[in-house]
């Protein structure tokens, strides 16, 4: 996982709330056995109609948004299935951060493990961001803060451990492996065995 320390980018906005993981990546793209190349399937059925033609009105289809690394989405982004293909597709497409008022638990966990930063903001900030697609934002991951174009700085909540791993590009498996002695003791001394 690449470290994410800071980010400066314009936003692309999807105002719909409750965007589920079936919208982020439809199930028929889940037969892959790799993590790569899923960017093409990102929001597939929102980006293309049933004949494969580009839906011009969908924000990601505006060529001016192609280099945006920050996605602003409606409330409760990433609800639904546990498919990690959702953050893989977002990252493969080029996103490094998603901003909403709330994220589904499994999506948030999956995103953080793939260098994709889920940022929760208050309703007022969110309303402003939704109303200003293309706004240039600065994100300071170490400080857990977001800078709006008018210079206002907004702090967002993030788990300290997740931030530590994100800013150093640490994958958590290594950390868990270091606990193996404690795990072995636990297995030997617990009062019942599964």
């Amino acid at each position: 996982m690449d470290a994410l320390i800071s980010l400066q980018s314009r936003t692309v906005v999807l105002p719909t709330r409750d965007i589920d993981t079936d919208q982020i990546i439809p199930a028929r793209f889940l037969t892959t056995t790799s993590r790569e190349g899923l960017g093409d399937a990102l929001f597939h059925d929102l980006r293309y109609d049933q004949d494969g033609a580009v839906r011009a009105e969908f924000p990601l289809n505006d060529p001016a948004t192609r280099d945006c690394e920050i996605l602003v989405a409606g409330n409760n982004f990433g609800c639904g299935s546990s498919r990690e293909h959702a953050p893989w597709a977002l990252v493969d497409y080029g996103f490094r951060a998603v901003i909403s008022t709330e994220f589904a638990d499994i999506f948030r966990n999956n995103a953080l493990k793939n260098g994709l930063l889920p940022i929760v903001v208050d309703a007022d900030t969110h309303d402003w961001l939704i109303a200003h697609p293309g706004a240039e934002l600065g994100i300071n991951v170490e400080a857990s803060s977001l800078e709006l174009p008018d210079g206002r700085i907004i702090e967002y909540p993030i788990d300290a451990f997740a931030r530590y791993c994100l800013t150093r590009g640490i994958d958590q498996l290594g950390y868990l492996q270091q606990q193996s002695a404690a795990v072995a003791t636990f297995e030997e001394t617990r009062s019942w065995k599964p």
């Binding site: 719909t16 037969t31 059925d45 409760n76 990690e84 638990d105 499994i106 958590q172 498996l173």
Partner: protein, 466 residues
């Protein structure tokens, strides 16, 4: 009682290997890891890359369900799957399980089925266990008083390699259901009503404990239906304290402890309940006796109405978009909508009692002209039991298709899909846009409502057909 604890707190405490601090989450031990073909290939690839073994293959149980065909398969050579990549995924699963020493209930196994159906059926899902799977509906196993939740593929890799996960302790939400379900109203109707009450994000960060006399009165299969859809309320998990119903269900199943170990387990399980004075972070109350058959009208599982009630009207843009997609008119009941497809199956409602409820409606009747009905048992064992009872003949006699087990039309990745624009009444758990196929319109309902809708050719109240 200052030390009063909830059931979740008790199960959590028993599995903490390293306690959580402000700087790091807890290391939580996992007792049962269920795996399937779709969310594991990248996890096994990581293990291979790093030369790591699976720490506890004996606590890992594998099956194939998501991309598998529901037409008969006798050998891997003739897997008739939707695509070459799906076939490749299935072959990789076989290879990964063989190479890492994991028990795979694959094609040819009479115990194969949807992962959340076979765990309970085999007695592997037990009270007090921590259970995970790379699948959000792992909450199903909470029906046994287990702490069971879905994880992503990276975490699947963590559990394979270390049998542990990094987790923060969840908050608790008590859902207290009083009264009794009226005749013709089922567990599916109850959970749809609960999701409407809590909202699709109302459970975020929480584990739900379902309590109260209406929950106690449910059999295990109905409790699984309830816990299954906890994730649809945004919750990390849902559970129900074990009781006699739980223990009777588990007795004699192949993977439960035997002999004196069984007696010890039962006495331990009897202590697994929330203490009387335990405090929940939040609570919600529902009166079961006020419910009627419930159906969804929109594109998330919280957009629910009673079968008699008019579809509500809101000016909100997301709400409007959902109604437009569904081609549903506000102010009118869902029963006015003609039906193209009916799907009975999935980890929500693909168990024997679910098939029986559908069969009770279909007995001596036929499905309406132009309706396609697919009945997909949740596991090969459910299929076999249903055939012993002659249910398959009721289904095929009524004009429905009777299939091999699997996820099938619940997520439409094995080729069983609903065509664009068609309306499907489905006993599964998600009505998201395109979930059952591009452009498919899904109405979630109970098996009885689904069967009644097949007979009537429109969304229908099963109570009229008894």
């Amino acid at each position: 009682m200052p030390n009063a604890r909830t059931l979740v707190e008790k199960v959590w405490a028993e599995h903490v290997v390293v306690p959580e601090t402000a700087a790091a989450p807890a290391v939580l031990y996992i007792d049962l890891h269920l795996i399937h073909e779709v969310t594991t290939p990248q996890a096994f690839a990581l293990l291979r890359e790093r030369g790591l073994p699976v720490r506890r293959p004996d606590l890992t149980l594998a099956t194939m369900d998501h991309s598998t065909p529901t037409t008969p398969v006798t050998s891997l050579r003739d897997i008739d799957v939707v695509s070459e990549s799906a076939a490749n995924q299935i072959r990789q699963m076989v290879r990964n399980c063989r190479d890492f020493g994991i028990d795979l209930l694959g094609f040819g196994s009479e115990q194969r089925g949807i992962v959340h159906v076979i765990g309970p059926e085999l007695g592997a899902s037990q009270p007090g266990k921590t259970i995970v799977c790379g699948d959000s509906h792992t909450s199903t196993h909470g029906a046994f008083g287990a702490l069971a939740f879905g994880i992503g593929t990276t975490e699947v890799g963590h559990v394979l390699a270390t049998q542990c996960l990094l987790q923060r302790e969840p908050r608790s939400l008590a859902v207290n259901v009083s009264g009794h379900l009226p005749a013709g109203v089922t567990a599916k109707d109850l959970i749809l009503a609960i999701i409407r009450e809590i909202g699709v994000d109302g459970g975020t960060g929480h584990v739900i404990e379902y309590r109260g006399e209406a929950v106690r009165a449910l059999d295990m299969e109905a409790r699984m239906t309830i816990c299954n859809m906890s994730i649809e309320a945004g919750a990390r998990a849902g559970l129900i304290g074990p009781d006699d119903t739980t223990i009777e269900y588990l007795a004699g199943r192949p993977r439960v402890p035997q002999g004196v170990a069984w007696d010890a387990a039962v006495s331990r399980w009897r202590g697994l309940r929330s203490d009387e004075d335990a405090e929940f972070d939040r609570s919600v109350a529902i009166d079961a006796s006020q419910l009627q058959p419930m159906v969804t009208f929109g594109t998330n599982p919280g957009m629910v109405v009673g079968i008699d009630e008019p579809v509500p009207d809101l000016s909100d843009a997301s709400f409007r978009k959902a109604l437009e997609y569904m081609q549903v008119t506000p102010g009118k009941p869902m029963s006015e909508n003609p039906v193209d497809v009916v799907f009975v199956g999935s980890c929500t409602n693909g168990r024997l009692s679910d098939l029986q409820q559908a069969a009770d409606i279909l007995r001596g009747r036929t499905i309406a002209d132009g309706v396609r009905m697919l009945v997909v048992p949740g596991s090969q064992q459910v299929k076999q039991r249903a055939e012993e009872l002659g249910l398959h003949r009721i289904f095929t006699g009524a004009g429905a298709e009777w299939r091999e087990s699997g996820c099938s039309m619940c997520l439409g990745m094995n080729g069983d899909t609903v065509a664009s624009g068609q309306l499907s009444v489905s006993t599964s758990n998600r009505n998201f846009e395109g979930r059952q196929g591009i452009g498919a319109r899904t109405v979630l309902a109970s098996p009885a409502t689904a069967a009644a809708s097949a007979v009537m050719g429109r969304v229908a109240d099963p109570r009229g057909l008894k």
